[in-house]
């Protein structure tokens, strides 16, 4: 069965094509009784379009009923054409030459309701191959019954065939005349079911969202061609006094190909999303054609009247006018079409446009571009992630790195500028179904996205540099700490224990050797001095008092100051890095005050203020301190900045004031 399912479409398609060619040949053989060539070509093309799209659908979507329906339609069209051709040849051109002419006439004249059956099924089952709801089965069955009844009545009609076959006898027996009352019943049944099917399509379209809506748009787009094509001879007749057969045929062929083609696009979902753009372009270029045509005609007329009959000149002027008008006119028409038919896109683009204006005058930051796009496409869940090529990673506008973008079902749309990937937009899955909205918004916002991306990247690199600076400072501090500990616990303790050994030696010498004891006293004395020096050295590297907190260290610092120093320090503890940096700021400030300021008093202050540690050193000297050469302030600034703080120096006649502020939580 599966094999049959695979082969059958090809067999049907082949048969339909063969029958269609056969019809063309027969019609040609029928000579003057046959159809004109273009009518045969039309028939062939109609069959070709239906069969090829039907075949494509059955291959790509096995089991999808619309493929089978299109194939059936092709075969039916071909058979009707062939029956007509056969009848023309066998009944009119060369009567009696071929058998069964009356059957051909019968099929050719009476089988058309079957085409309605196929169309009815097609419309009811579009686009997913299922009825809109089980209720519709009634409509389907009713329609089938009406068409079946109509067929039976046609086949067994007592009336003779229509012209030019009135002389051909009917091959089937006639039904009683009484049954002819059923004609209008079945006819109304067919009309009713087709009307119902159209209603079904309409209500389905109204409820449809996303892909299904697009599928209906495709159907509607090509279905609109039918009245347009039919209007062409009417308009042509009014405007130009008639349309060439060839031109009309071309249009009609286009229509015949377009309907199955758009059904195919809808069902196969190939380039499904192009429909909005296609409709838009059709509207824009249709309106543009009309407007430019009117411009051309008006300019030709005006110039012709003004200068007299020089048609070459007026044509040239009109062409020039059209060429000049083309671009601005197109943009304007595009805007108008968007405004009227694509409100969402129009307003979205307007929002981006206003944002770009604000950006230009500095009222907005480029980083806002993500939320502007979210607003423009009305998707609050939309987020823009910038691509950082150096790290091969995405980051948001604040520079925070996202190793994983939000997972499906969220849609993702890459943002590119030329070849360069700028970032990725993560948005609601629904938005993925209308790229006609998101894509132009992204294109319009492209420059802002690129600027924002560059800024995020620079900020991130800066943050990395700052972090590495902080790490270096922390490492330096750790090194100082290790050094200080080594000096204290290593060298200093060793010297003390040597001193103790000497004292022991001195004790063992007893009371006898006074001279040696005196020498030992001197040795221990200089050892004590060495220990003192070592302690001072260690204190410079890192004051051990920091172990007991900033306040303790500052008090110790103040106590060693040669000028009166007041210490007002909070007993609170802060992170080790901050305490150390604050201590060194205080130490440097105090040293400068002692060395240069010539003041009589120094105040050291450390207080927590609003999530910060504020350390200040102020003196009442003559000022004159300035950051830069000769002061240790530059190194201190780096140290403070590495912790995210800042250093401030003011110096005037009233004294010098050095303040460091550290953020701390």
């Amino acid at each position: 069965v599966r094999r049959l399912n695979r082969v059958l479409p090809w067999v049907v398609a082949g048969a339909a094509l063969a029958v269609a060619v056969f019809a063309v040949v027969l019609s040609a053989l029928a000579g003057e009784h046959g159809d004109p060539w273009w009518q045969s070509a039309l028939g062939l093309c109609a069959v070709l379009a239906a069969v090829s799209i039907g075949l494509l659908i059955t291959v790509r979507r096995p089991g999808h009923p619309i493929g089978s329906l299109l194939l059936a339609e092709g075969l039916l069209l071909a058979s009707v054409g062939a029956a007509d051709g056969y009848a023309q040849y066998a009944a009119l051109e060369d009567p009696g030459a071929l058998p069964g002419a009356e059957w051909a006439v019968l099929w050719g004249q009476s089988s058309w309701p079957l085409l309605f059956a196929v169309i009815l099924a097609l419309v009811l089952l579009f686009p997913d191959g299922r009825l809109p709801s089980p209720r519709w089965r009634g409509v389907f069955i009713g329609g089938t019954v009406a068409i079946g009844g109509f067929l039976i009545l046609s086949f067994f009609d007592p009336e003779p065939f229509e012209a030019p076959y009135e002389d051909v006898g009917r091959p089937l027996p006639s039904l009683p005349d009484a049954l002819s009352v059923l004609w209008p019943v079945f006819f109304l049944g067919i009309l009713g079911s087709i009307f119902a099917a159209v209603r079904a399509v309409r209500s389905r379209f109204r409820r449809a969202t996303g892909i299904e809506r697009l599928q209906f748009k495709w159907l509607a787009y090509s279905a609109l061609l039918v009245p347009l094509v039919l209007l062409v001879p009417v308009i042509g007749g009014v405007v130009a006094g008639g349309v060439e057969d060839g031109a009309f045929t071309a249009l009609f062929l286009f229509m015949l190909g377009a309907i199955p083609a758009s059904v195919g696009v809808a069902v196969l979902r190939y380039r499904l999303y192009e429909i909005d753009r296609l409709i838009n372009a059709t509207l824009v270029y249709g309106a543009l054609t009309v407007l430019l045509g009117a411009t051309f005609a008006a300019v030709t007329l005006i110039v012709g009247v003004a200068i007299g009959g020089d048609s070459t000149f007026s044509t040239a002027a009109a062409t020039l006018a059209v060429a000049v008008a083309f671009r601005p006119l197109r943009d304007r028409v595009q805007t108008q079409v968007d405004r009227r038919f694509n409100r969402a896109r129009y307003e979205g683009l307007q929002k981006v446009h206003r944002f770009l204006d604000r950006l230009r005058i500095g009222r907005s930051e480029p980083e806002e571009v993500g939320s502007v796009i979210a607003d423009a496409v009305s998707d609050p869940s939309l987020r823009l992630f910038f691509w950082l090529p150096s790290d091969d990673i995405h980051a948001d506008a604040s520079g925070r790195v996202h190793a994983e973008l939000p997972p499906a079902p969220a849609g993702r749309t890459p943002v590119r500028r030329g070849e360069l990937l700028l970032g990725t937009i993560v948005h609601s899955p629904e938005l993925a179904e209308s790229p006609g909205l998101l894509d132009p918004v992204i294109v319009r916002a492209g420059l802002a996205i690129e600027i924002a991306r560059l800024r995020v990247e620079v900020r991130r690199q800066l943050a990395e540099v700052e972090q590495s600076r902080a790490r270096i400072v922390a490492a330096t501090y750790e090194e100082r700490r290790r050094l200080e500990r080594d000096l204290h616990d290593g060298a200093q303790q060793r010297l003390v224990s040597i001193g103790l050994d000497l004292r022991h030696l001195q004790h063992q010498l007893g009371s006898g050797n006074a001279e040696a004891k005196g020498s030992l006293d001197a040795v221990v004395g200089s050892l004590t001095e060495a220990i003192d020096e070592l302690r001072e050295l260690a204190r410079g590297v890192r004051p051990a008092a920091l172990d007991d907190g900033l306040a303790a260290a500052l008090r110790e610092l103040g106590s060693r100051s040669p000028i009166p120093t007041e210490v007002e320090a909070t007993e609170e503890r802060f992170s080790e890095d901050i305490e150390a940096a604050a201590y060194f700021v205080a130490s440097e400030g105090l040293t400068n005050a002692v060395k240069h300021a010539g003041g009589s008093r120094v105040v050291l202050r450390a207080a927590r203020d609003n999530g910060t540690l504020v350390l200040s050193v102020s003196d009442d000297g003559h000022g004159g301190a300035a950051p830069g050469a000769g002061t240790g302030l530059t190194g201190l600034e780096d140290r403070v900045a590495a912790l995210g703080g800042n250093l401030d120096l003011r110096s005037d006649d009233a004294g010098t004031w050095l303040m460091a502020v550290f953020p701390c939580e």
């Binding site: 303790q493 003390v496 103790l500 051990a544 009166p564």
Partner: protein, 213 residues
């Protein structure tokens, strides 16, 4: 009992005390063993290093507090690398407690004197700590003291008795007494206190943090 985590220093200290004629009943290298040894031996004096394992911060101070409350008759002499050690000054003014910098041990005579004073229930505060206290008190009425009175104040803060001060400054004990009285009246302190109560009064005056509560 001697508690000091560095072996060389520990042995040196033990010898120092032995040379001075004292008996060292135990030498230990951390605070837990110190507590055990103090409980076991009930010594006259425990010499305790501030920094000991495991954290090398203030194990010694904590142990000293424990000893003073669990074994009030055991005097404690804390040895430190640094001038400031939170919590030590409170103990000093209670008596039976000393706080000295480590390198002070090389000045054997003064060190032993301080140790013995502590063991007898007196106090000892390192001269450098005292000078820190005095110099940081820039606001107080210290300006009214003569240099000699200042010296006497410092030595009183160190925990020395009048006799000790007299010996150190090569003065008569009576001169020292009069200086002390003068200091007490100038600083508006209650006179006539002796021993650790005098130290307490002086330190209360000198250490502004204690005044603030």
């Amino acid at each position: 009992v001697i508690a000091e985590d560095q072996a060389l220093l520990r042995e040196g200290l033990a010898r120092l005390f032995a040379d001075a004629g004292h008996e060292v009943v135990a030498t230990v290298d951390d605070a837990d063993r110190l507590r055990a040894a103090v409980s076991e031996h009930s010594p006259d004096l425990a010499v305790v290093d501030v920094r000991m394992p495991p954290s090398f911060k203030d194990e010694g101070i904590k142990a000293a507090h424990w000893i003073r409350s669990a074994h009030p008759d055991v005097a404690v002499l804390v040895l430190s690398q640094h001038i400031e050690a939170a919590g030590a000054i409170d103990l000093v003014s209670e008596g039976g407690f000393g706080y000295l910098l480590k390198d002070r041990v090389l000045d054997v005579a003064e060190f032993m004197e301080a140790a013995e004073r502590v063991q007898r229930g007196g106090s000892a505060l390192d001269p450098q700590v005292v000078s820190t206290l005095i110099s940081s008190d820039s606001e107080g009425g210290m300006g009214g003291l003569t240099p000699r009175e200042r010296e006497v104040l410092s030595l009183m803060a160190e925990g020395l008795t009048n006799a000790g001060i007299a010996e150190r400054l090569v003065l008569t004990e009576r001169t020292v007494e009069s200086h002390a009285r003068s200091v007490f009246s100038k600083l508006d302190l209650p006179s006539g206190e002796e021993g650790h109560r005098r130290v307490l009064a002086v330190l209360t005056y000198l250490d502004p943090r204690r005044n603030q509560g």
